[in-house]
């Protein structure tokens, strides 16, 4: 299985995902620069955290027009795993691959800390190695992480088991229904504000994020049918 980590101008967690997959999990990973138009040969794609294009205008709003995004959309349509964390999640919503938007945190402050989460669904390519309703803790680090969608969208997300992670104790950003991560209806596109790639080694304080990458690798080149 070959995985692409997209590098936008201003991405800064690209190396973190790369290292989590490559060094910690031994996966076959490449950095792919935003100017590249094709993702031929890749089985999965990761959109890292950071501040693509400075997050000027709105987080993720400009990255969506990067040349590589056409190929990312194709991968998503083809049912291949597409994962976005933090800025990656924001880009996925701006690109319309996931519903809703990420607003400025209610505190209007950037917040970096480790928060408890509930794994709401393990029925995705990325969470199959977690227990449903399992409690884990992952770092967050964002200023625009308050998930917003209108009521119908929220109801639809719940009805289709698309809420994958929820903040379990305090809600750190004001996100509606405590949503921390969602997937598309097919379950092959996952976006989340927390950073699993920061929790893959004991020396960094936690390994709660490791199974997300292990799930993805175990599910191999699975292609989710429509």
């Amino acid at each position: 299985m070959k995985i692409a980590v997209i590098v936008f101008p201003g991405s800064n967690c690209d190396i973190d995902i790369y290292e989590a997959l490559h060094t910690v999990c031994g996966a076959d990973v490449d950095y792919v620069f935003h100017k590249q138009e094709s993702l031929a040969g890749y089985d999965a794609v990761m959109l890292p955290g950071g501040f693509s294009y400075g997050d000027y205008l709105r987080a993720g709003a400009i990255a969506r027009f990067a040349p590589v995004m056409g190929a990312v959309v194709e991968m998503a349509r083809a049912g291949k795993p597409v994962f976005g964390t933090c800025n990656g999640f924001q880009i996925l919503t701006e690109a319309g691959l996931l519903p809703g938007s990420l607003k400025r945190n209610d505190s209007q402050q950037f917040v970096c800390k480790t928060v408890p989460l509930e794994v709401v669904s393990n029925r995705t390519l990325f969470t199959s190695q977690y227990q449903e309703h399992e409690r884990i803790a992952l770092p967050i680090a964002h200023a625009d992480g308050s998930y917003y969608a209108d009521r119908e969208t929220l109801d639809r997300l719940e009805a289709h088991h698309q809420v994958v992670f929820r903040y379990a104790e305090e809600n750190p950003n004001g996100s509606l229904r405590n949503i921390a991560g969602i997937c598309n209806e097919r379950g092959n596109v996952l976006g989340m504000m927390p950073h699993p790639e920061r929790a893959v080694e004991e020396i960094l304080g936690s390994t709660d994020g490791l199974r997300l990458f292990k799930s993805l690798l175990a599910n191999g080149s699975v292609k989710v049918e429509e």
């Binding site: 501040f51 402050q109 950037f110 950073h195 960094l204």
Partner: protein, 742 residues
């Protein structure tokens, strides 16, 4: 572009006085250095380059006191940043820089561009910045203005560092009325490199290109360097022109492009330097001086954001996110291609010439033609008068203050809520402390610790400074600043390597202030020698005054240590019930300048006791050996609030407690701030080893317990406090004080 005034008019009207160039300097320049009257552009260049900020003309004699070499130092002061060998062909690069004046005027952008500037210093050396630290000093949180300054400053540091993807892993934040009108914002950056990639800010080789890369030049921040060197008054605050806007997104691209050229194409590059204070002129003149070269620049080629800029404005602009490169002839296009890839400009604006002249063309005219060295080396060093402050002479005669604490528990609870002591997590949570997944210990401990990826090594780092001590006894205060940094580094299990510093003082033309500067540097220098931690880089910030009122003399020490084995990083909080608790170091009646004195008296007074550095070094080294042997469970150094506060902090965020026999200490001494002390916990199995190694330098004072209570017997009091309650007081104090009444 015509010169705004003729040389004769300049001589007559003396506009340079407004730019902080003195008449004596002007005369020296025209009579001795040039043998003619300087034109308008030249006068402007001199005034910027001869400002204290660029030339250190007042502080140089004092800075010479610092040791700056040992076997590990690869590059001492004088370049963008200092460089220290960390074995395996790798090096750590670090420097601190003050951005006090910009932050006082415009907290958000001032702090943000402070971070931006220090990062460029690091990557101009060929290193990738791996961590930032910030040392912040504000007025009391009693007025809305100060609260806004705190929030703005923290947001500025966060937004810039977070966007760059460089973790902020440690720092300090203190509050004192002396900083009310003049905030201190010192930023430190730490980078990592392979020694083979080491760069210098050098321009040499006749015909080689001078290339300008990065953001366009605008009229922002003109005279920032002289602005930073002149003191402040409310009048100045309304002129407010010297503020720059940072663009961290651009800087991130600039960082990647520069590192690509440096590490992948060393044969293209002769030298590189960032454009900091005094923009193009300082970077280009310093590079030419370093390379003993002449240089000719065509200012019409400089990328400009605004039309109609004069030569003077182009040369002195402090627009952010720009670098200057000296590139081997024939590789200009290669360099340009790399920058093109990152959508950045890279333009050849001049060439290295034979001889030693600094020549600028603008609009078809030669607007400057002077020897390079006249800007960089011929500065008139200024000797300064100094005088021991009357307040210190008086304090030496007065009896020492004694607290006479009657309710030790209430005192502890109040101390935990003092803004300087209270939990700072509401501030540092706004910093991404984990990005790039190397942060082993983030903010909230004694020192931040970063792993060196691919090795089993780590780097520990801290910033420390306590203006109150330095104010009362500058020399001892200077020593304490260094000792505190050493204690923080050792508490995390690392071996101190070297330091950087920011020397923040008032107007040095005041003999009492110059005396404070001189004395405290002497104290720091002495301690640096004892601990073998040379000063490899640093920065001087003078004229920190507001309406004639100087800040406390506040030298900040930024120290980096080497963790040889990451398995032995020591946490600052207790680990296991049953572990023995030791107090390392002797406790005296040291209340002058303490948090306790400030809290009870509303002001500080007295003088500090002299102390011997060698014995402290010896027991700290023995302690470090024990840590490296895996025999220490946790360690936390004592600072503001003394033993009482330190013990509480070691229990916070755990579910453990302590039972202590401190009958050799009085209630007063529970809060004394004798320097060089730590609380250490040791697994019972290693207690005998620990005691035989530490001897009389550590006292067994109790054990870690399973109940979440801090229990201690003092000579004249008892303590029985629920740790959760103490923690809550400590955690809620700062957010509560910061939140405006609503």
């Amino acid at each position: 572009m015509k010169q705004a005034m003729s040389p004769e008019e300049i001589k007559a009207k003396k506009p340079y006085l407004d730019w902080s160039l003195s008449e004596a300097e002007y005369d020296y320049i025209s009579q001795q250095l040039l043998g003619r009257l300087p034109n308008y552009t030249e006068t402007g260049l001199f005034s910027a380059m001869w400002s204290e900020h660029c030339s250190y003309k007042k502080s140089k004699p004092v800075l010479r006191l610092f040791p700056n070499k040992n076997a590990r130092v690869l590059q001492g002061p004088g370049e963008g940043a200092g460089v220290v060998d960390i074995d395996d062909g790798q090096a750590v690069v670090f420097k601190a820089e003050s951005h006090n004046h910009p932050t006082t005027v415009e907290p958000y952008q001032g702090a943000a561009t402070g971070i931006g500037g220090i990062l460029r210093d690091i990557f101009s050396m060929g290193a990738r910045p791996v961590a930032s630290l910030d040392s912040l000093h504000f007025g009391e949180l009693t007025d809305a203005q100060t609260k806004m300054k705190v929030t703005g400053t923290v947001r500025g540091i966060g937004d810039y560092g977070n966007c760059m993807g460089i973790p902020t892993v440690a720092g300090e934040t203190t509050f004192d009325p002396c900083y009310q009108g003049n905030v201190l914002c010192n930023a430190m950056s730490v980078g990592l490199m392979d020694q083979k990639d080491l760069q210098k800010g050098k321009a040499a080789g006749i015909g080689n290109a001078v290339m300008y890369v990065g953001a366009k030049t605008g009229r922002d921040g003109i005279h920032g360097a002289t602005f930073a060197s002149a003191d402040f008054s409310d009048e100045n605050a309304t002129q407010r022109s010297a503020v720059q806007v940072g663009d961290p997104f651009m800087e991130k691209l600039l960082l990647e492009a520069c590192l690509e050229v440096i590490t992948k194409h060393p044969d293209w590059l002769v030298g590189i330097q960032d454009m900091g204070a005094a923009g193009i002129v300082s970077s280009s003149a310093e590079m030419a001086s370093e390379g003993h070269s002449g240089m000719e620049l065509d200012l019409d080629l400089v990328p400009q954001r605004e039309a109609g800029m004069s030569a003077y404005e182009i040369m002195l602009s402090e627009s952010q996110e720009r670098m200057l490169l000296c590139v081997n002839k024939g590789h200009e296009e290669d360099v340009k291609k790399v920058f093109d890839f990152y959508d950045l400009e890279a333009v050849t604006i001049g060439r290295i010439t034979a001889g030693h002249q600094y020549v600028l063309h603008h609009d078809g005219e030669v607007v400057c033609d002077i020897p390079v060295s006249s800007l960089t080396d011929d500065v008139l060093e200024e000797s300064s008068e100094e005088q021991k402050p009357a307040r210190i002479v008086a304090a030496e005669q007065a009896p020492a203050w004694q607290p006479h604490i009657t309710d030790v528990e209430a005192t502890l609870r109040s101390l935990l809520q003092q803004s300087t002591v209270a939990d700072k997590s509401s501030l540092y949570q706004q910093y991404d402390s984990q990005v790039r997944t190397n942060t082993v210990v983030g903010p909230g401990s004694d020192a931040g610790v970063i792993r060196v990826r691919g090795t089993h090594k780590g780097l520990a780092m801290t910033t420390d400074g306590n203006g109150r001590f330095v104010y009362l006894s500058p020399k001892v205060g200077g020593q304490i600043a260094l000792v505190e940094a050493v204690c923080n580094i050792i508490a995390s299990g690392a071996e101190p390597l070297a330091i950087t510093d920011c020397l923040n003082y008032g107007d040095p033309n005041d003999p009492e202030i110059f005396w404070e500067l001189h004395q405290s540097v002497q104290g720091m220098a002495e301690a640096c020698r004892v601990f073998d931690t040379p000063v490899i880089s640093g920065n001087v910030s003078l004229y920190n005054e507001n309406n004639g009122q100087a800040i406390h003399p506040t030298p900040m020490v930024g120290m980096v240590g080497l963790v040889k084995n990451l398995d032995h990083v020591i946490p600052s909080f207790v680990q296991q019930p049953g572990d023995r608790v030791y107090l390392v170091g002797q406790t005296g009646d040291d209340y002058a300048g303490s948090e306790l004195q400030k809290m009870l008296q509303g002001e500080i007074s007295g003088t500090l006791a002299d102390f011997d550095l060698e014995p402290v070094r010896d027991y700290l080294h023995r302690l470090l050996k024990l840590m490296q042997a895996g025999k220490v469970a946790s360690a936390h150094d004592l600072s503001e609030g003394g033993l009482g506060v330190a013990l509480s902090e070691t229990l916070f965020k755990t579910d453990l407690g302590m039972d202590l026999d401190l009958r050799h200490l009085t209630a007063d001494q529970f809060f004394s701030e004798t320097p060089g002390r730590l609380v250490v916990t040791v697994p019972a199995e290693f207690a005998a080893d620990f005691e035989s190694t530490m001897g009389g330098d550590a006292a067994m004072v109790g054990t870690v317990t399973n109940s979440h209570w801090l229990q201690a017997r003092l000579a004249n009091a008892e303590i029985n406090q629920n740790v959760s309650e103490l923690q809550q007081l400590w955690e809620e104090a700062l957010p509560c004080q910061l939140k405006s009444k609503d």
